[in-house]
Symmetry: C2
Subunit: 373 residues, 2 copies
C-alpha cells in the first residue's frame, strides 16, 4: 500500500520533507465551516495563522470570506499586502506595537477596511485609544475558562474600566474569547459542554457591561466543528479546521477523510530487527507537538497514504515514536508489518502531523510547490 | 531586576518575539571548543544546523574553522553560496538526492573543496558511488548505541558490504557516529561513560573492517564539551555548544554564563491572582521542546536577564509552564515574586530556550537584527 504512496510521491519529484495540501479537501473543509457560520447567522472570520498562505487565502476568498483573523501584526501586514482589508489581530495588543498598529489601521481604513485589536488592560486600552489615527475596532478579550489571557468573565470592575478607557477613534465591537481548553476535550458532548459554559459566561459579561450592542466572537476549531448550534455567536474564528490533523481527529472534530495536510518524508533507514523505519523529517519539519495515544504512548505523527486523486487515509500501527531535529523514528506494529518488507532507503513516506498549524509554520516556504493533486 | 531587562530590550526597539545572540559568549564557546579539538589533535567540523547563519559562520571562520557539518543538501548549498568549501551533510544520503549531491560535489570540487555524504546501506552506497561525477567523501554512519540510524557497530557483514560497494570517485573517509543518547545523561561522569562506550565500539568496528586508515568522526555537544580527552577521535562535529541552552545546562555541559542565545518576548498579560504572566512567544518562536525539571514539572523555557554588556543569567523560579502557538504562560514562584509587581503589559521579558537549535531554526530570519550587544 505504501509502496504505491512512495511511487506517487516520487513521481511528484519530491526529494526532501515537503508539505502536501489536498486542495479539494481543504475547500470542502472551508465550505462546511462557512455553512456552519451561515446557518448560525454568524460572521465567519477564519484564523489564517494555520496556513499563512496567499494561495489558501484565495480559496477562502472564493468561498465568500472577506474578514480574517491573524496572530501578529506582521501576519496582518502580509495579508493586507495580498489585498485583505478587514483583519483582526488575535493576540493581546501592547504599547510596543502602537506605531505598527497605527500604520496598518490607516492603510486598511484608506482602502475601506478595518483593523481589529484585542485589549484586556485599562492602561493599554487608554493608550491605544489615544494614539490611533484611523478608526479601529477594539475587542475585549475575555477569559471564559481557558485560563490563559483576558479579563475573567466575572471580573466586572476590569471589564468596566477597560470599556471606559476606549475612546476617540476606537470602537468597541465586542467581547472575544478563545476556548482553547476544548483541545483537551474528546467528542461532541464534552466539546459542547465547554462551548455552552463559555457562551454563558460571555453573555453574563455582556449583561454586566450594560452594553447590549457588544458582539460575541468565538474561536477554536473543536467547538466550531462540533457544536450543533452556534447561533448565540455573532462571529466565529476557527483556523485549524482548514487542514485538520491528528489532534482534531483524536478530539473527534474531523474524520480521516477531512485531513488535508501531510508531509512527504524520505525513508533513510530500515531496521527490521527493531521493527522501525527512520525518516528524514524531524522537529524542524513537523514540530515537537505530540499526542498521547489511548495506550499512553507519545506519538509525533503517523504514516498515511496518497492516491493519484489526493491524500488518502491513516495507516494503522505506524506511528512516529520519537523525533529529533531532522529524524523521525517510526515504529511498525504487526498491523503495518508489510511496510517493513516493502520500504527501502530512498522511498518516500507520508506523515500526518499532530498539529497542522505548527507544521505549516515550519514548512510554509515549501507549501506552494506541490500544492494540488 | 527584570525591569532593567525590559528597559534594555525596549531601548533596542524590540516589539515582537526576537532572538538575541550574545556575540562575545558565542565566540568564547567557539574558541573553547576549537581548543578542545586542537588539544585532542582532532579536526573541528562544527555542525552549522544550530545557527544556520552566515554571520555566525564568519565567527567560526575567524576562529580558523574551514570544515563544517550541515543537516541537509539545501543547507549545504546555502553555505557553499557563502564560500564554504568542505561540507559534510550529516543525514543519511538517499538516491532521491543523487542529482543534487552530484551538482554540489562538482561545485565544491571545482573550488578545491569536498562534499561529504553519509551512507549505511549497500545499495545506496553502490548507487551513489556509480553516479558521482566529482570526488566525494563517504562516511559510514555507525550506530554505537543511540539506536536511531546507521550500521550497528557489531554488524560486521553490513559494514563490509557497504565498504565494498563504495568505488569510482568516492573515497571512504571513515566511520561517523552521533551519540545522541548523551542528551539523556547528567554530568561529566555519565556523559564520559557514553563517550567511552561509543568510541570503543567505533574502534572495534574499524578493527573488524580491516581498514586502519578509516578516520573516526564523533558528534554531540555533551560529549565534546565534557569529555576530558577526545584524542581517540580524528574529527569532532558538535553544534549546539555555540549557543548552549537549558538542555545543555541541565546535562551539565555548560554554565549559565555560556548561554549565548535568548528570545525577547513582549509581556501581554499579568495575572497576580494566579502568579502568572503571559508572553507573546509560543511554539512558533521557541518550539515545543520541553525539559522535565528535577521536581517533575515540564518546562518550556525560563526567564533571564540582560545587562548593557550582553545576556545575563537565569531568573530563579520563573519558568514557562505551558506553550501554545503564540503564547507562553510563565509561572512565578515566590523567589520571583517581585516580577509579579514590576511587570506590566508592554514590558519585554527575556526567555532562555530549552533547545537553541530549534529556536534558531524558527527565528532565523530575525536573527540578524540585534545580533550583538
Amino acid at each position: 500500500m505504501l509502496k504505491t504512496t512512495s511511487e506517487i510521491l516520487r513521481d511528484k519529484g519530491i526529494t526532501r520533507p515537503t508539505i502536501l495540501i489536498d486542495q479539494a479537501r481543504a475547500e470542502d473543509n472551508i465550505r462546511r465551516m462557512a455553512e456552519q457560520a451561515t446557518s448560525a447567522g454568524a460572521m465567519f472570520r477564519p484564523h489564517f495563522k494555520t496556513h499563512q498562505s496567499g494561495v489558501v487565502g484565495r480559496w477562502f476568498h472564493e468561498a465568500g470570506v472577506r474578514q480574517i483573523t491573524v496572530s501578529s501584526l506582521a501576519m496582518a501586514e502580509q495579508f493586507a499586502g495580498l489585498g485583505w482589508r478587514d483583519i483582526t489581530v488575535a493576540v493581546l495588543h501592547t504599547p510596543l506595537a502602537d506605531q505598527q498598529a497605527q500604520r496598518l489601521a490607516r492603510r486598511l481604513h484608506q482602502r475601506g477596511g478595518r483593523l481589529g485589536l484585542l485589549v484586556a488592560d485599562q492602561e493599554v486600552a487608554a493608550r491605544v485609544s489615544a494614539r490611533m489615527t484611523a478608526p479601529t475596532d477594539i475587542w475585549l478579550k475575555l477569559d471564559t475558562g481557558y485560563g490563559r489571557t483576558g479579563i475573567r468573565w466575572d471580573d466586572r470592575k476590569t471589564l468596566h474600566d477597560v470599556l471606559n478607557a476606549c475612546r476617540e477613534l476606537t470602537t468597541v465591537r465586542g467581547l472575544l474569547t478563545h476556548a482553547g481548553h476544548s483541545y483537551a476535550a474528546r467528542g461532541r458532548q464534552q466539546v459542547s459542554a465547554i462551548y455552552d459554559e463559555s457562551l454563558a459566561r460571555m453573555r453574563a459579561a455582556r449583561r454586566q457591561s450594560g452594553r447590549d450592542d457588544l458582539l460575541l466572537s468565538f474561536g477554536d476549531t473543536p467547538c466550531c466543528s462540533l457544536v450543533a448550534d452556534l447561533s448565540a455567536c455573532d462571529e466565529i474564528r476557527p483556523g485549524n479546521f482548514v487542514f485538520n490533523d491528528l489532534m482534531q481527529l483524536q478530539i473527534g472534530s474531523c474524520g480521516a477523510e477531512q485531513l488535508a495536510a501531510a508531509v512527504a518524508c524520505p525513508v533513510i533507514g530500515v531496521y527490521p530487527e527493531r521493527q522501525q523505519v527512520v525518516l528524514h523529517g524531524g522537529a524542524v519539519h513537523l514540530s515537537k507537538e505530540h499526542l498521547l495515544d489511548p495506550d499512553g504512548v507519545a506519538s509525533y505523527g503517523c504514516l498515511g497514504t496518497v492516491t493519484a486523486a489526493g491524500l488518502g487515509t491513516v495507516v494503522p500501527g505506524a506511528r512516529l515514536v520519537s523525533l529529533s531535529q531532522e529524524h523521525a523514528v517510526v515504529e511498525l506494529a504487526p498491523a503495518a508489518a508489510d511496510l517493513m518488507t516493502d520500504l527501502v532507503p530512498g522511498d518516500l513516506a507520508l506523515v500526518w502531523p499532530v498539529h497542522s498549524c505548527l507544521t505549516c509554520n515550519l514548512l510554509r516556504d515549501q507549501m506552494a510547490v506541490p500544492l494540488a493533486f
